[in-house]
């Protein structure tokens, strides 16, 4: 049950007004900081490239221009944008399934069962999370090649499925929010670990599973570096890598390359909006789970 205080409406002393002003200022500045660039981005496809530079940055152009931008974007390399979006969905959803299948049981076991090497596993996980990326790519590429996976979707899905943060999330959730007595009682009753996991732990863990799912999906949807290096063909690219290709076809960034391609800043902005929509929609729908995820275990007794 969320504790929701009524806003303090007792005596409005100067200090309370002062703190209300400070809070208001803080929230307003943050709001402008976070949202203003996004508003600019949303308005960009409605203008022509010239208007974006010449007119007021926050002005609205025309709906017709949005239609033009749409057409230019989707005729780029014969509809490559759609292919890229589809690829992103495949990679993100595929690795999501694998992530959940591996991370949730692992987190459970790390928290609630005892076996040798438990602490070692936790420590190793932490170390690999901190290792910088540039040098990890080569060994990962060599491995993927050894198993003939280069050029397949697995070359992206498998590395994506390795999600140590997800494991930590689940680990801490189970370690702190599981009602121990329930587990102890179930064990005494003769439940096997597997039954314990499926029948008792999983249903209670729905919030943290939602959390892991959300962050895994977003992380993989936005991941640029690994697919960029590992995928040989442009029609296998996810949308983030595709955006990079659009960027290098925009005259503002590459004066000569843009010849005849119709990709200018507004088209690029439209492509970005399309690329982030799935994430935003997902966030909107999973807001409750994300926040209550930490909470559910706390008061269940």
């Amino acid at each position: 049950m969320t504790w929701n205080p009524a806003p303090m409406r007792l005596r409005t002393t100067p200090s309370r007004t002062a703190s209300a002003v400070i809070i208001g200022l803080l929230l307003a500045v943050l709001l402008v900081f976070f949202v203003l660039p996004v508003i600019w981005l949303l308005l960009a496809p409605s203008k022509t490239a010239g208007q974006i530079v010449h007119d007021n940055p926050l002005s609205f152009g025309s709906f017709g221009r949005i239609g033009d931008a749409w057409r230019h974007l989707f005729s780029f390399e014969n509809g490559a944008v759609l292919t890229w979006l589809r690829n992103s969905a495949v990679y993100a959803l595929g690795s999501l399934v694998l992530t959940l299948l591996t991370s949730v049981p692992a987190g459970y076991a790390l928290a609630l069962t005892r076996f040798r090497g438990r602490k070692v596993l936790l420590a190793i996980t932490l170390v690999t999370m901190i290792m910088p990326s540039a040098t990890l790519v080569l060994p990962v590429f060599l491995e993927l090649n050894k198993f003939q996976l280069i050029g397949t979707a697995w070359s992206v899905i498998l590395p994506f499925s390795f999600y140590p943060f997800g494991v930590y999330l689940v680990y801490i959730y189970f370690a702190t929010s599981m009602p121990r007595d329930l587990l102890a009682a179930a064990r005494i009753d003769g439940c096997s670990e597997w039954q314990l996991f499926i029948r008792i732990a999983l249903p209670l863990a729905k919030p943290v599973i939602g959390l892991v799912a959300f962050f895994s999906f977003v992380g993989n949807w936005n991941n640029f570096f690994l697919p960029y290096l590992v995928l040989p063909n442009s029609d296998e690219f996810p949308i983030q890598v595709g955006l990079n290709q659009l960027l290098s076809s925009t005259p503002s960034f590459n004066p000569v390359a843009g010849a005849g391609l119709d990709i200018t800043i507004p088209e690029l902005a439209l492509a970005i909006i399309i690329a982030i929509l799935p994430v935003l929609v997902l966030f909107l729908f999973s807001q409750r789970a994300l926040v209550s995820g930490m909470l559910a275990g706390a008061t269940k007794e």
């Binding site: 780029f76 442009s234 503002s252 960034f253 004066p255 000569v256 843009g258 010849a259 005849g260 391609l261």
Partner: protein, 463 residues
């Protein structure tokens, strides 16, 4: 519970200390006889054996072509007109904006022994690493095209000096797609209105710049604020900033009179505000000053992509003039800003189809007449100039200046493993923005170039 944990940590800490000490001792003893850490694939590395040994050829094998989005239509057109050639077309960023995608992928392919594309479009910088092995024992990625692949006649048809970036170890490893010879751009309508004549020497350019600053303040005769402005100015002045005297030795001497003369000239114009330190390609420039560019010293593609596309200068106003001369010169030297190359992979199983493709792409009138930029192959360039689409926009016939400049590109500005724009953009441009003069920044620029060259394995000299 707590005490036992601390005790455990205490014992743990002690054993860690012992372990650390042992390690240090061990490594100290081992260090004595350790191998050198220097990479063995520096610029001095030769390209494998002197004779190029192609892999087993299979007639009719499929070729994989990597092109950028701008060249994609050309490759598709070839496929359409040659349906018997089996091609797989892949797009990538083409090395734009300093991307090292091609180099990265080829290195990965070299390690796994498979996966190389047959034909790629790249930048001249790509040829510097593609003409040498990427790791000990590997074959260089680019095939030497002069070795029984492309006839000498064809190679001789390219503009003077345009194949120099492709040449290493006595072989030619790529075909130049286009060149960007630097010419003098000017707004003919404005010049006529104000009674100015386009300059023919640098002294005239400077004098005109001073005049414009006095009589028509706000109007510009050039810009040094772009990432490649130095190629327009310093390369044209024959400044030895990137002069490879040997394959592995770079000569950098920015105190050479040929460098200081340009730096001094530009400094005078910058203080007169006739030359801007803001780049033509900055977002706000077109808005604020796009209509105030009286002259610009830049590559042949400025006409269409800067004046027309970025500044929206109306048609029939802009014209080009041949490169400027210094006192005592009969022939001018000029710079070059860009240009792509096509390479054929030495691992290709269908060298014939690959070579035919790159030859068609670079030399055929069919393809090059409608290319976005000036072709390097001279006959194709003639066809390009004859194409109205490429010259309608201008006030005058640009063929003369373009063709003259195409043969005047100075070959002393070498193609190195590292981009020549890095030191200019990250050292000189911020200094200029901060109000320092070019002359006073020359030492810092020289140091940046030397440092970068050494980091890439070159020996650096200043004589």
């Amino acid at each position: 519970m707590t005490s036992s944990r601390f005790a455990r940590t205490g014992r743990h800490a002690a054993s860690v200390r012992v372990l650390a000490a042992a390690c240090t001792l061990a490594s100290a003893t081992v260090l004595a006889g350790c191998a050198s850490a220097d990479p063995s694939t520096g610029p001095a590395a030769k390209g494998g054996t002197s004779a190029f040994k192609p892999v087993a050829q299979k007639a009719g094998a499929q070729i994989t072509v990597w092109a950028d989005s701008t060249r994609l239509p050309s490759v598709q057109a070839y496929q359409k007109s040659h349906p018997d050639v089996k091609m797989k077309i892949v797009t990538y960023d083409g090395g734009a904006d300093g991307s090292t995608y091609l180099q990265t992928k080829v290195q990965l392919f070299d390690r796994t022994g498979e996966g190389w594309p047959d034909v790629v479009f790249g930048t001249p910088t790509d040829v510097t690493w593609a003409s040498a092995p990427t790791k000990p024992g590997a074959t260089p990625f680019a095939a030497p095209l002069d070795d029984k692949l492309v006839p000498k006649n064809t190679l001789d048809g390219f503009a003077k000096g345009s194949l120099t970036p492709c040449q290493f170890n006595g072989h030619t490893y790529c075909l130049r797609n286009d060149i960007a010879q630097v010419v003098l751009w000017y707004n003919k309508s404005l010049m006529d209105k104000w009674g100015y004549r386009p300059p023919t020497t640098w002294a005239e350019y400077e004098a005109l710049g001073q005049k414009v600053a006095k009589d028509h303040p706000g109007y510009l005769v050039g810009s040094v604020g772009d990432t490649n402005s130095h190629e327009s100015y310093f390369w044209s002045s024959q400044c030895p900033a990137f002069n490879l005297t040997k394959a592995d030795t770079l000569r950098v001497n920015l105190q050479d009179p040929k460098c200081t003369r340009m730096a001094t000239l530009l400094d005078k114009l910058i203080s007169a505000k006739a030359v801007t330190t803001q780049g033509f390609f900055s977002q706000g420039f077109a808005k604020n000053s796009g209509s105030k560019v009286l002259m610009a010293y830049g590559p042949s593609w400025y006409g269409q992509y800067v004046f027309k596309a970025a500044f929206h200068t109306p048609a029939k106003q802009i014209a080009a003039a041949p490169p400027l001369t210094w006192p005592g010169e009969t022939t001018a030297s000029t710079g070059n800003v860009g240009g792509g190359v096509w390479m054929v992979s030495s691992h290709s199983a269908n060298l014939k189809a690959s070579t035919d493709l790159v030859t068609w792409l670079t030399t055929s009138n069919e393809n090059q007449a409608s290319a976005p930029t000036y072709p390097a192959y001279a006959p194709a360039a003639k066809a390009w100039l004859a194409n109205p689409a490429n010259s309608n926009y201008f006030a005058d016939d640009v063929s003369g200046p373009f063709q003259q400049a195409a043969d005047e590109v100075w070959t002393g500005w070498s193609n190195t493993k590292f981009s020549d724009a890095t030191s200019w953009s990250s050292v000189v441009l911020p200094a200029l923005t901060g109000g320092k003069s070019l002359v006073s920044t020359l030492p810092a620029w020289q140091k940046a170039i030397s440092d970068q060259a050494k980091a890439n394995g070159y020996k650096v000299t200043d004589r």
